[in-house]
């Protein structure tokens, strides 16, 4: 038994070395090369719905819809990564922000909502982001002074409160929900896009039955947000977050206004969560309280940590796996979550630093493992 574990661990270490090697080689590539490869990869991602790659495509459900879901989950993970990975705040009720964003768009934009304002999508989304940011601040103001584990239960409660509110309030139409959530634009595909597989000129860009438009929009937003978060990460703000995560007291003594930056982390995380919610439910065109359960929220946290908290590529990978694997392996139907649960345990034991660890994490965990107790 132990031998098997050891060899598995060894194989995995080999993989990590390969990844790390790749990372180093990447860093040593000439600037032009890196830029070119990056562009090629981005174009590949945009082209993915039209490529019909055999093993990757999902047999049972629409592949583009799965890609869209992946993109939305990556957006969620990027936001959650700010809160958990960078600032080190454990937020188990992140789905609450997702819901607030989605409902704001639905209520303000749908002709069938109890509040018939019917703003267009481009107006709704900034409002939704603003509202979620404010809700992040409202939640964070009293609770961010609490210690880590207490924050976890309080955020969990927040997520549940939002769900219960959505379920029982008149403004959300309860569980009957709101149909006709606005789509980003009523425009149609122009003639010159007709060559792309799956696109028919003259049909709406954003339609429920052809998701390519939504996927491209989501992908674009993912890139913008990742870039934005990367800018923050590599600035005074990001350093302050890391310092807070590492040692809050020392950070404070070094002049970091910790409360302010924790609140910012919460607000930015919330904004990204709200944006993803708005995006997802625009595509779905229908929203009700179903789909905001805490369980999903907890799975998101798991995805972020398993992917490699603190590393944007890592959390993106975690999110993609969470969205993609269940759709790809529909044949395991009833056992998907069971396998997922077991996988989580195995992962934490073999790869506590996540699939794509940030370099920092890796060193830390190796040191910690070395310091394990005596006689074991």
């Amino acid at each position: 038994m132990m031998a098997v574990l050891d060899s598995a661990r060894k194989a995995d270490e080999g993989r990590v070395r390969a990844v790390t090697g790749l990372r180093d080689r990447w860093a040593n590539l000439p600037y032009g090369w890196r830029i070119s490869v990056l562009f090629a990869f981005i174009i590949f991602l945009y082209a993915l719905p039209g490529l019909e790659i055999p093993l990757i495509s999902t047999p049972d459900t629409d592949f583009t819809s799965v890609l869209f879901l992946c993109a939305v989950y990556v957006l969620v993970a990027v936001g959650l990564n700010v809160v958990i990975g960078l600032a080190g705040l454990l937020d188990l009720g992140y789905i609450g922000f997702y819901a607030v964003g989605a409902y704001t768009v639905a209520i303000l934009g749908s002709p069938n909502s109890p509040v018939v304002i019917q703003f267009p999508w481009v107006v709704c989304v900034p409002i939704a982001i603003a509202v979620t940011m404010v809700s992040g601040v409202i939640l964070g103001w009293p609770t961010l002074r609490l210690r880590g584990d207490y924050l976890a239960i309080v955020t969990l409660g927040f997520g549940e409160i939002i769900r219960v509110f959505a379920l029982n309030s008149d403004i959300t139409n309860g569980n009957r929900g709101i149909t006709g959530v606005p789509v980003p634009s009523e425009g149609t595909w122009p003639e010159w896009m007709d060559w792309f597989p799956g696109i028919t000129a003259g049909r709406p860009i954003f339609s429920v039955s052809n998701v390519i438009g939504f996927y491209w929009l989501a992908l674009t937003l993912v890139f913008i947000c990742m870039l934005g978060v990367r800018r923050l990460e590599r600035s005074r703000v990001g350093r302050s977050w890391l310092a807070i995560r590492e040692d809050e007291d020392a950070a404070e003594v070094m002049g970091v206004p910790t409360f302010k930056y924790k609140l910012w982390a919460f607000a930015i995380g919330a904004a990204l969560g709200g944006l993803s919610g708005a995006l997802f439910f625009s595509k779905q065109t229908f929203i009700n309280a179903q789909g905001f359960d805490l369980f999903t929220s907890i799975l998101w946290v798991a995805a972020v940590v398993i992917g490699g908290a603190g590393n944007q590529l890592g959390v993106a990978l975690g999110a993609i796996l969470l969205a993609y694997l269940p759709e790809r392996f529909r044949e395991f139907a009833d056992y998907r979550l069971l396998i997922f649960g077991v996988a989580l345990i195995v992962m934490t034991i073999f790869r506590p630093q996540g699939l794509l660890p940030s370099r920092r994490r890796k060193v830390e965990l190796e040191d910690r493992a070395k310091e394990g107790a005596v006689g074991e």
Partner: protein, 316 residues
């Protein structure tokens, strides 16, 4: 809002709330024990409770008291319940122990940070309830009504039944037993020592691993006992029954001061009662909102819960 209703039925709501809270309190003990010693939210504890509810039905069904069976005489019922407590306690305790061995111990040996423990715990929780879900086809499982409630006495217009008295008293008794065990026995002292300072406890000759196994088993047994009370009271269980009760029990533990046994009792009872008042005033659907809002308010004024943390030392 319906304050008049609350006024009219205050005692009645109190009694039902206490009954509910007693079950929360027993489950909360598991969270509190593990947190007190390991500073770890044992997310899988809710499934430990869930396993207990099913083992109870299996034991009863095995003895010929399946769904729809009529209850035997008083002693028969007490016997069945006692048997169920033993079986569910053993099953839940065993489950908790397995979770510790499989999901936590390897991480402890590698000195992993607490976030990793949380993920492993989530994994264990998902795996357990999905396993039971798959086995039971995700169908609820019923059980016989063993106790026919009879009104024993009335206080301030509230009928109090033998079932309610039974549940509250058994919970109190189990809690008192655990309290004595932790505070008065040698092993219990070992538990407290590890909670207060694991290194120094090792210097006293306390085997930390054994203490950790002990608290998981103890917490599991309490959840097992709670699951029997729950079955007697509610009469139906499903694979997903643990989630909400788990969250509530954890809330109760934090409310009372996590790591504090008496805090768990106070938190559980208070949560049950306030939740019921809240349901009476704002409507049943706002019950959870009331519970969580109370939690936030309490934590704002008492950041370590009502009674503070006592099993473990307060963290600097």
């Amino acid at each position: 809002m319906n304050f008049e209703f609350l006024g009219d039925n205050f005692m009645s709501l109190t009694v039902t709330g206490l009954t509910q809270g007693a079950i929360y309190a027993l489950v909360a003990l598991g969270y509190t024990l593990v947190y007190g010693v390991l500073r770890l939210i044992n997310f899988a504890h809710s499934e430990v409770f869930m396993i207990g509810t099913f083992v109870t039905t299996i034991v009863w069904a095995g003895l010929g008291f399946g769904v729809g069976a009529s209850a035997p005489g008083t002693f028969g019922v007490l016997g069945l319940i006692a048997l169920a407590v033993v079986a569910a306690g053993a099953a839940s305790g065993g489950t908790a122990l397995i979770v510790e061995r499989v999901a936590y111990r390897p991480l402890r040996k590698r000195n992993a940070p607490s976030l990793i423990f949380l993920i492993s715990a989530i994994g264990a929780s998902v795996a357990l309830f999905e396993l039971v879900g798959a086995i039971t086809d995700r169908q609820p499982r019923g059980m016989p009504s063993l106790v026919q409630p009879k009104v024993q006495f009335t206080i301030f217009g509230a009928d109090v039944t033998n079932l309610q008295i039974g549940i509250i008293l058994s919970a109190l008794a189990m809690l008192a037993g655990l309290d004595i065990f932790i505070n008065r026995t040698r092993l219990g002292r070992g538990v407290r020592a590890v909670a207060q300072n694991p290194d120094v406890a090792a210097l006293m000759g306390v085997n930390k691993d054994r203490v950790i196994m002990l608290i998981f088993v103890l917490g599991g047994m309490m959840a097992g006992a709670a699951s029997v009370l729950y079955d007697v009271k509610v009469g139906i269980t499903t694979y997903s029954v643990g989630f909400l009760i788990g969250i509530k029990a954890f809330t109760a533990a934090v409310l009372g001061g996590i790591g504090n046994l008496r805090g768990a009792l106070l938190g559980g009872l208070l949560l049950g009662v306030v939740e019921n008042y809240g349901a009476g005033v704002f409507g049943n659907e706002w019950m959870d909102v009331v519970a969580f809002v109370m939690l936030v308010v309490v934590l704002l004024f008492r950041p370590t819960g009502l009674l503070g943390e006592s099993l473990g030392r307060a963290r600097a």
